[in-house]
Amino acid sequence: MSAITRAEVAHLARLARLDLAEDELDHYAEQLDVILTSVARVSEVAADDIPPTSHPVPLVNVTRPDEARPSLARADALAAAPAVEDERFRVPRILEEQE
């Protein structure tokens, strides 16, 4: 049984905002299946009572003095933008037409 289907890969690509071509879907479905089958070995480890580790060096409540400091100038922030209008980032429409 395969761990992942072509339809699932298409769904993942949509979630991940990747406009994959048809032939890419076939290729990745095959490769992701091989990888997932291999990494699924982690399930062999009996770990029900083991706490998860998200971070190797646990530091908590890391704070610094709340002091105002200079930040990025607007021109610097906009300098690398793909499109700028009225000193703002110009982005494509964010709503559907019927809305």
């Binding site: 997932l36 990494v39 933008a81 559907e96």
Partner: protein, 502 residues
């Protein structure tokens, strides 16, 4: 043609060059120019650099020469040039991470590592090639073409930091910065006959390091000698309030440890799970010989078992893609980088999808989708959740091993450098290159790779990995320094001096 003096300059260690500059035997400009000339001479074949900043490097060198002339005290590496992996933000210099999606981007700020290099008077020669966003073990996943291994130009220089390692091995730079998420400093060091150190997680600031997997990424030194690595490590290391994961405690004195270079009385653990099946015969042979030398030098060698290391690769390829799918969401074509398809009345979602499809290469897409899968509801507990538990068990294996031993050793990589193209479309085969280096990233401790000879069957370099507990980075240098010294005595030179001339 370079003059004999220039050829000589590029073959010196960073420590030697720093001393010569401080003594006024040579200027920082001459040293920097010699390396820029070398890059111009050989980089069309090696392709270690994505961008060369000759003007910037020479300006820093001139400032060092002026400071010296003014009688100011120079830092320990002042005037010694460096190659910077293209994943660290450097103000006004292109930073691509090996990706089309960032082609032409010039960061508006310096990473903390870059800030510290500048403060130390280290001229930055340019940005080095890498697998796209540090995903890969061969530098073939760079959008700008592969880097070639100076030992054999048809072979890979390792990855993701193949550019930094190849720059060092081809004498284009005496110092380089790499980053190591699953072995990207150590595996390239192993296959290019150079030295690479992954510091303790939190030991070097991640501010301005473009994130792949935030709980695993760590920048560190790439050099030709253990002492050079220690000198660079101490320049870039230490607490940074701009990185909330930066360790506030003072870092160990790695330079003193490299100078002491002594393993007498140390207990060294041989990790049973990191040898045997899958390891090339010549790699095992050189590794065993190096371990015997450590015994001769006065260390006690014992075998230890870390049973969960067998699951580290699987857990890593769930945790890393999960973090990466989240981190790389920032490349959406809105504020910087590539934007594709912004025409007609396409929506922001369509433009993002077209941009990411065009801007990312195959390995990045694979891992983003893997991570998206591992984090989806219904799979989260079985994949990401279970991988995090395995991560705990790997840490416990290390704790148990370090209760018996001061350091652990293994081969750095299971094989020597393979041929370009051999594994590029076989992700699982590529992932296996990092089988021995990944456990350290999972646990957050530190490790070094150093050259221990050429494999008899193919004449290519073999690396030995030394692993130490968190914040015991000095032990890497004690062992590395001692072993390097013994091997140099045996061979009459460093291994890198056997690299074919280009």
């Amino acid at each position: 043609m370079s003059t004999p003096l220039e050829r000589d300059l590029i073959r010196q260690s960073a420590a030697t060059l720093a001393e010569a500059i401080a003594e006024g035997e040579v200027s920082a400009r001459e040293v920097t120019q010699a390396h820029l000339d070398r890059i111009a001479e050989v980089d069309d074949r090696v392709h270690a650099f994505l961008h060369v900043d000759g003007q910037g490097a020479l300006a820093t060198a001139d400032a060092v020469d002026a400071s010296r002339a003014a009688g100011e005290l120079l830092g320990p590496l002042a005037g010694v040039p460096l190659a910077l992996k293209d994943i660290l933000a450097m103000k006004d210099v292109p930073t691509t991470c090996g990706s089309r999606i960032l082609e032409g981007w010039r960061p508006p700020y310096d990473a903390t590592v870059v800030e510290r290099l500048r403060a130390a008077g280290i001229p930055i020669l340019g940005k080095t090639n890498m697998d796209e966003f540090a995903m890969g073990s061969s530098t073939e996943h760079s959008a700008f073409g592969p880097t070639h291994n100076p030992w054999d130009l048809d072979r890979i220089p390792g990855g993701s930091g193949g550019g930094s390692a190849a720059a060092i091995a081809s004498f284009e730079a005496p110092l380089a910065i790499g980053t190591d998420t699953g072995g990207s400093i150590r595996q390239p060091a192993a296959v290019t006959g150079t030295v690479g150190v992954k510091p303790t997680y939190g030991g070097v600031s991640r501010y301005g390091l473009v994130a792949l997997a935030s709980s695993l990424d760590q920048a560190g030194p790439c050099t030709r000698t253990v002492m050079d690595a220690a000198l660079l490590h101490s320049v870039i290391g230490g607490h940074d309030p701009r990185d909330s994961t930066s360790i506030p405690d003072p870092m160990p004195d790695v330079v003193a440890a490299a100078a002491r270079a002594d393993v007498r009385g140390m207990r060294i653990g041989l990790v049973r799970e990191l040898t045997g099946e899958g390891y090339q015969a010549g790699v095992e042979q050189r590794f065993r010989e190096a371990v015997e030398i450590l015994e001769h030098l006065g260390a006690e060698v014992v075998e230890v078992s870390c049973p969960h290391f067998d699951y580290a690769l699987g857990a890593y390829y769930l945790i890393l893609p999960s973090e990466c799918s989240s981190n790389l969401a920032r490349f959406d074509g809105m504020r910087y980088g590539l934007r594709v398809g912004d025409e007609g009345d396409r929506s922001v979602e369509e433009v993002m999808s077209l941009t990411r499809e065009a801007g990312f290469g195959p390995e990045v897409k694979r891992r983003i989708m893997l991570g998206t899968y591992a984090l989806s509801s219904g799979y989260y507990d079985a994949y990401y959740g279970q991988a995090q538990k395995v991560r705990t068990l790997i840490q416990r294996d290390f704790d148990a091993a370090f209760a018996q031993c001061d350091v652990l050793v293994s081969p750095t990589a299971p094989t020597t450098a393979f041929r370009i193209g051999e594994k590029v479309d076989d992700p699982l085969a590529m992932y296996l290159n990092d089988v021995a280096t990944i456990p350290v990233n999972m646990a957050g401790n530190c490790a070094m790779s150093l050259p221990v000879g050429l494999a008899p069957e193919d004449g290519l370099p073999v690396g030995l990995q030394v692993m130490a507990p968190p914040m015991a980075d000095d032990r890497l240098y004690l062992v590395g320094g001692a072993l390097e010294g013994a091997l140099r005595d045996r061979w009459g030179h460093l291994l890198i001096e056997e690299v074919p001339s280009l």
